[in-house]
Symmetry: C2
Subunit: 196 residues, 2 copies
DNA sequence: CACTATCGGCACGCACCGTGCCGATGGCAG
DNA sequence: CTGCCATCGGCACGGTGCGTGCCGATAGTG
């Protein structure tokens, strides 16, 4: 993503990796509060200019840092049981969302996005839409295997599932625990499941 | 709320109202970007101290300003048809969330809340929990009239409904249009509706 | 009429953003 | 090996906003 494979590979590339890692470390240590460009620069022993040469804004840096640790939490399992796969995935995503470094960085991106519609669009495209898509893929497979009804509108269902999860994790202050995930998945399965 | 009926009614009370209104006006005019304490003070012709004597932080001011225009959008109708009542209410809430002054102020509160867990709790108690409760009330009535199945877990359902709505309105950049609301309500009714 | 709380105005210290300029450093071409 | 030049870290600047402190002016109260 941030690193073109055939780039001229000057010493800048290594610094880029260090800066992204420093951002994540900082998020893990001091949380959202300390996630400023200056703080990242201080921690990495780097002038601000070195950061601004790579990312046009604080939000861009945070987005890149987020994508560094985010993708690993997106792979749904496929055991043949949708209910269990969704449950397991939601619990895993919920735990990742709640803790460092993903939680603080995600929160920082959301805070930045509130004042910038284009950033909000980018956030949605790069992360939320991806999560929705993976969810849609999984439940579409379930529909094909007969676990879900054929006439279900799964596109909106995927958005509702992810939306409810992120709402609880990032806007509400309640934990994404087993009870919450069960309530969510139960409603989904009650709506579109074939095994009553 | 902010104005006790039997307050000693010094000149301070009138200023409080003016300041809340100035905050809302500012949100409607310049949006999220201009929502700073200093800007509110400038607009109202008021020293910052006059604001800080009333609210301990920027977030507290925004919360009070929000509750000034928020309550009017919470009254569900009860026509005897849950699906239609939910639909109508979600479309109305969605429109309110998208435009000024509620939209910008809400976004500002959310941005502030990302860095302050206690503020996040307050936001949830004062607004999100209220919305969920009203929704729960409405669908509980529907359950009693037989429109919804008796064994449905409506508490989580209410959270899912509101969560999906707020997710779309505040985190995603997609509009809360009829298609989205229909998809949401359809899933809910498919899960717990009795009229198949 | 005097008293006192509140007022608007101004300034401060702090933090951060984003930019400009500097001399130093290190990788690459010749 | 050597010289070149992009990138580097360091520093300073102007701008904005937060939250606080101090000032003299003002307006309600006793």
């Amino acid at each position: 993503m941030t690193e073109p494979p055939t780039a001229p590979r000057r010493r800048g590339t290594a610094r880029t990796e260090e800066l992204l890692q420093a951002t994540l470390d900082l998020a893990a240590e001091v949380g959202y509060a300390g996630l400023s460009i200056e703080a990242v620069g201080r921690r990495a022993g780097v002038g601000k200019h070195t950061i601004y040469r790579r990312w046009p804004s604080k939000a861009a840096l945070l987005l890149d840092a987020l994508s560094r640790v985010w993708t690993s939490d997106l792979d749904y399992r496929d055991t043949g049981n949708v209910r269990e796969d969704l449950r397991e995935q939601f619990l895993r995503s919920g735990a990742a969302l709640s803790g460092p470094p993903i939680g603080p960085v995600y929160r920082a991106v959301i805070a930045e996005a509130q004042g910038d519609p284009s950033l909000r669009a980018t956030l949605h495209e790069r992360f939320l839409a991806t999560v929705e898509q993976r969810t849609l893929d999984r439940i579409t497979r379930a529909q094909r295997t007969g676990e879900l009804t054929a006439d279900a509108n799964l596109e909106f269902a995927a958005e509702v599932l992810c939306g409810a999860l992120y709402y609880r994790g990032l806007m509400s202050n309640r934990p994404i625990d087993a009870a919450a995930v069960d309530g969510l998945v139960d409603m989904f399965m009650a709506a579109y499941g074939t095994t009553r």
